[in-house]
């Protein structure tokens, strides 16, 4: 299909659906193949910076949202308060889920070194993460971040989140200096 027309159709669908729409649902409605849709979506996301309405895309789900650059005016218009700030443990858990997703509770707890049942439930209730059944073991639940999470942080695309390796490159184990090294200094 003509990309311009496809873009227009996708946006119309997303506009009328206020909830997140999966790429699969769009594919079924439009009868276009997934790759074609993904290319168009990438273009739309790239144009987010200049538009009042942005396309949030994450985990094959799509949703239209207001541009976070306009936070102040939207807030004023709707007389809304900003969402409550997250606690340290919430951010810590989100950090793990963001870069490890989909991730199991056991893995989260292993990294944090502490039982995380409660905090995971809090995040689920706030809609910042969601549960999906593991593809390898149906009894196991895995956690992913949601579009709501992007809205909360006011990020326009996943690219705005830094690369994990880049962000943590300075955190390394310092090799144990051999005893003679001290004498040299």
């Amino acid at each position: 299909m003509d990309p311009v027309k496809l873009k227009s159709q996708i946006l119309s669908i997303l506009f009328v659906a206020s909830n997140p729409v999966s790429i699969k649902e769009i594919q079924e409605s439009l009868g276009v193949n997934e790759d074609e849709i993904k290319i168009v979506i990438e273009e739309l996301v790239a144009a987010n910076h200049s538009s009042g309405i942005i396309l949030l895309a994450h985990n094959n789900k799509l949703q239209l949202a207001s541009n976070p650059d306009n936070t102040q005016v939207v807030k004023k218009f709707l007389s809304l308060e900003l969402r409550e700030r997250l606690t340290d443990s919430a951010l810590e858990t989100l950090a793990i889920i963001t870069y490890k997703q989909p991730v199991s509770k056991a893995e989260v707890e292993n990294i944090r070194g502490v039982n995380s049942q409660y905090i995971l439930r809090q995040l689920l209730i706030r809609g910042l993460i969601e549960k999906i059944p593991s593809s390898s073991d149906k009894r196991m639940q895995l956690y992913k971040t949601t579009l709501e999470f992007m809205q909360h942080l006011g990020i326009k695309s996943q690219n705005e989140l830094p690369n994990f390796e880049e962000l943590t490159k300075n955190i390394t184990l310092t090799p144990q200096a051999p005893p003679e090294a001290k004498i040299e200094i």
Binding site: L82, A95, R112, G113, Q151, L153, P162, T168, T174
Partner: protein, 240 residues
């Protein structure tokens, strides 16, 4: 020794990381051996204050003890498995520190105070306050004072009622006295004296109690007729 405030750690790894960083050490087995004692002190406190996460702390404490023993007695043979598990702690700490760094970055993003909204924003959540244009701070202050005065009255109110309440034992004594001086009385005349609904109820309860104790007896000639209250006959002649 460094004083550790309790309850502010996300978990044992958070505590360890803080202890090491407070002493300006890098993450290493040497550093871990150094802070073992402080870690154990903290866990001792935890046992009393917050036993819920104790197990998580004990797992790490055990690993620390292996590291500490090894640093004191390098020749000590603890078995490969134990040693490996303990020395993995530096890796675990490093990994945890990385995610803490990511969390810090997320906080920075959060503090930009930007946010986006979707169309499902609930308009009913709007906080709207549209004051009358004639309202001035003086008027607001006045009405607040008036309200405060009225509230004061309301708060005082129950206290005054409390004073008037008649207890059942007082009522019982009163009725007993009446009957011994008048031989008989009636419910209607008793209720006539009542100043409030509560007193009516108390009078009634007192009568029930006196009847139960067979001190008085009640007589009613027909439905809805007045109830006559007399001394119980068994008591009557003997006590008179």
């Amino acid at each position: 020794m460094v004083q550790i405030k309790t309850d502010q750690f996300e978990g044992p790894l958070d505590l360890l990381l803080t202890l090491i960083e407070e002493q300006k050490l890098d993450i290493s087995t040497v550093a871990l051996a150094k802070v073992t004692e402080q870690f154990l002190d903290y866990v001792k406190n935890l046992q009393v204050k917050n036993p819920i996460n104790l197990a998580d702390f004990l797992v790490i404490a055990a690993k620390l003890l292996v590291i500490k023993s090894k640093s004191l007695l390098p020749t000590l043979e603890l078995g490969d498995e134990e040693e490996e598990a303990a020395f993995d702690l530096t890796e675990a700490l490093l990994q945890y520190k990385k995610y803490k760094e990511v969390a810090r970055h997320f906080r920075r993003i959060e503090l930009r105070h930007t946010q986006s909204w979707t169309r499902d924003v609930d308009f009913s959540d709007r906080i709207t306050f549209v004051p009358d244009p004639t309202i001035t701070p003086q008027i607001l202050s006045q009405s607040l004072q008036t309200l405060a005065m009225e509230l004061k009255e309301i708060i005082k109110f129950p206290r005054q009622i409390m004073k008037e309440v008649v207890s059942i034992s007082e009522k019982i004594a009163h009725i007993q006295q009446l009957i011994s001086s008048q031989i008989e009385t009636s419910l209607a005349s008793l209720l006539k004296e009542s100043k409030s609904k509560t007193e009516v109820i108390v009078t009634f309860l007192a009568l029930l109690e006196l009847t139960k104790q067979r001190i008085i007896q009640l007589e009613q000639t027909e439905h809805f007729a007045d109830i006559i209250i007399k001394k119980h006959q068994l008591h009557g002649p003997s006590q008179a």
